[in-house]
């Protein structure tokens, strides 16, 4: 079972590049949703003897990251009537390139990390660092509010991957709490997006420049 983890991680990494390289918001939402589902089933491969609470966590993770949050964002997208990220601060080609460089560095860097013996061969740490990096890229280089939320989701996914190394340390209650916070966060952001759209007839954060020194 454990051998299946690496192929899953590679697919998850590939989805990072989909998210970075396309302008259709719908496609990015789908990529992040699929990544969420993959992340959701990973605990089964990391800790085969997972127990009932683990199964429950898997179900909740897949449900929230794979279905509820993407549904909600799709709804927000329709509501705001936008389909594309038109002019990112860094264009799509360069974003892909930066993403690739970041992923390469993440792999090299993880080899230098003092990991515990059982984790030295795993792709989990490089995948985690690379996804966090992708999330930051999206957060800083995209102008549409929805894209920034998707960047935040990628960032959380990256942290989730690291959390898989410590499934024992994170009790069920806390895991659920983290997911609940994530959901509420996206929910509140969605509401704010709705208001941004109503106020400016657009959800580009480039309009949000009135407050400065």
């Amino acid at each position: 079972m454990v051998q299946l983890l690496d192929p899953l991680l590679i697919v998850a990494l590939a989805l990072n590049f989909v998210a970075l390289g396309v302008s259709r918001i719908r496609a990015v939402i789908n990529a992040v949703a699929l990544q969420g589902i993959l992340l959701g089933i990973m605990p089964l491969f990391v800790h085969p003897e997972i127990g009932l609470r683990g199964i429950l966590l898997v179900v909740v993770t897949i449900g929230l990251k794979g279905f509820v949050i993407p549904r909600f964002l799709t709804h927000a997208m329709r509501e705001a009537n936008i389909q594309h990220e038109v002019k990112p601060v860094v264009n799509f080609m360069s974003s892909l390139l930066l993403g690739a460089v970041g992923t390469g560095l993440a792999v090299v860097f993880s080899y230098t990390l003092p990991l515990a013996d059982e984790h030295t061969d795993s792709l989990l740490v490089p995948a985690s660092l690379s996804t966090v990096w992708t999330g930051f890229l999206m957060l800083t280089t995209r102008q549409k509010a929805i894209m920034q939320v998707l960047g935040y989701l990628l960032l959380e996914n990256g942290i989730f991957l690291f959390g898989l190394l410590l499934l024992e340390a994170m009790p069920f209650l806390v895991e659920v709490g983290v997911l609940l916070d994530l959901f509420t966060g996206v929910f509140v952001m969605g509401i704010i997006i709705y208001h941004i759209n109503r106020e400016f007839a657009s959800i580009s954060t480039e309009h949000l420049t009135e407050l400065k020194e």
Partner: protein, 481 residues
């Protein structure tokens, strides 16, 4: 009992949500605040040692440090809540259901942060305060408050996501050391000397940046001027006095683990550096600041810097920092609420329009001036005592550079802030600014006066029970277990 502290405000939030009357709903906030204060007092005087007040198998515990922050938060929230009905009556055009409910949810989550002895649970509570306070910022429903809320939400959430990453690193440092991985605070402090130093190092950096973002330390403070500038005064007080103090508590918990481990020196250097940097950045932006609410935000950046600086200096300065946490929060209450009143009277918050506040709204103008004197460390107010304690400790332990820079930056902040405050308070109000019918009333001034009275009291005399509590908390931080 410990559960009640959290469940009571949440229940009151539900009741507040259910109450249909826009007019009577705000009165539930002070009722809930009074109940919370009563519960806190009851818990403080519960017989038995600290372990008696715990729950969830050690996940929740009221230690001396938590006591200081919890007690302070409860008083702060109570005084703020007294302001709420008067303020919301002035804003009777706006629905206040979400506002009142979220005030109480923020109170419950701040309480949970002070009680958490599990870093994961503390993280969940901290993030929840961010989410619950975002709608409070958006109360005015205009373009500017929208922008402020978006920045607050996004920067706050990303910052706090880094703190989660750091928490994971911390758990990993125990896994790497061959121990069972855990996020229980007491266990981590116990095994701290054995934790893998590299991972502990990285964890501290991430946690400090993460919770530092929430605290608003420079250079992660960029959301702060926008958020405090656009928020109603009562929300500004809660954020600048309450939520930031919770984030500071989170940093103290992490610091305690590092101190018990091999990272004490490194952590102290970072804290001294970041503290002074925050003070410097704040001082630069306070000079020639025309918007007096943004100026208060920079003052908050400055004082968050003083808090971490105090802990970094160590020794008696830790006591000073804890006292300053209280003094700063209470003085911010005076400043934000009186600034809110002045803002209301003039319909503007830039010094081009606002002049002669002491004539237009004498009480709020005078309180704003007094609050300025207090926060910049003039005797006989509370912040003077705590800042003096910190300088004294720095000089006493031979850290002359830090002490010198501290005094210099306080001086610059005094001059910068003074120019703006005096512009607001002095002079004659322009004719067109006086046609608004707002006047100081008991409802909007009495809470500010109470804040001011406490600030003055703490400057003249620190009550022995408070002093012993602070000493206990400082000792709790200093102990290597």
């Amino acid at each position: 009992m410990i559960y009640l502290l959290i469940l009571f405000p949440l229940t009151m939030a539900a009741v507040t949500f259910a109450l249909p009357s826009n007019r009577w709903r705000p009165w539930l906030v002070p009722v809930a605040a009074l109940g919370h204060l009563g519960l806190v007092v009851a818990v403080f005087f519960q017989p038995g040692d600290g372990a008696a007040v715990s729950g969830l198998g050690g996940w929740l515990m009221l230690d001396p440090l938590g006591k200081v922050v919890l007690g302070f938060l409860s008083v702060l929230f109570f005084l703020c809540s007294l302001y709420a009905p008067g303020y919301l009556a002035l804003r009777s055009d706006r629905p206040n259901r979400v506002f009142c409910v979220n005030l109480l949810v923020v109170l419950a989550m701040m309480t949970l942060v002070t009680l958490s002895h599990h870093l994961g649970l503390m993280w969940v509570a901290m993030e929840a305060t961010t989410l619950a306070s975002a709608p409070l910022l958006y109360f005015n429903h205009n373009a500017r408050s929208l922008e402020a809320t978006w920045k607050y939400l996004l920067i706050g959430s990303v910052g706090i996501a880094l703190a989660l990453f750091g928490s994971f690193f911390l758990a990993y440092s125990s896994l790497k050391a061959g121990l069972e991985s855990t996020l229980l605070f007491d266990q981590l402090v116990q095994v701290a000397p054995k934790l893998s130093p590299q991972w502990l190092h990285a964890a501290f950096v991430l946690l400090f940046i993460g919770y530092g973002t929430k605290m608003g330390l420079a250079p992660m403070h960029t959301w702060k001027p926008d958020a405090y500038g656009e928020a109603p005064g009562i929300v500004g007080t809660l954020l600048a006095g309450g939520v930031t103090s919770c984030a500071f508590l989170a940093i103290l918990r992490v610091w305690q683990i590092c101190r018990a481990g091999a990272e004490a020196g490194f952590a102290r250097e970072i804290m001294i550096f970041m503290g002074l940097l925050s003070m410097a950045v704040a001082a630069v932006f306070m000079v020639r600041q025309r918007d007096f609410k943004r100026m208060l935000a920079y003052s908050s950046v400055e004082h968050m810097g003083i808090l971490v600086l105090g802990v970094g200096i160590g020794g008696p300065a830790v006591y000073g920092a804890l006292l300053h946490l209280i003094n700063n929060g209470l003085t911010k209450g005076v400043l934000f609420l009186s600034a809110g009143n002045i803002h209301r009277a003039y319909g503007s918050k830039v010094t081009d329009d606002v002049r002669g506040a002491i004539q237009r709204v004498p009480l709020s103008g005078a309180l704003f001036l007094a609050g300025f004197l207090a926060i910049t460390g003039s005797p006989p107010f509370g912040p003077f005592v705590s800042e003096f304690t910190i300088v004294n400790a720095a000089v006493g332990s031979g850290q002359f550079l830090a002490a010198g820079l501290f005094l210099l930056l306080l001086g610059i902040a005094f001059i910068g802030m003074g120019a703006t405050v005096l512009a607001v308070v002095q002079g004659n109000p322009a004719d067109h600014t006086t046609d608004n019918d707002y006047h100081d009333s008991i409802a909007t001034s009495a809470p500010v006066l109470l804040f001011m009275a406490l600030v003055l009291l703490l400057g003249l005399y620190v009550p022995p029970p408070l002093e012993s509590l602070l000493r206990e908390a400082a000792a709790f931080l200093a102990v290597k277990r």
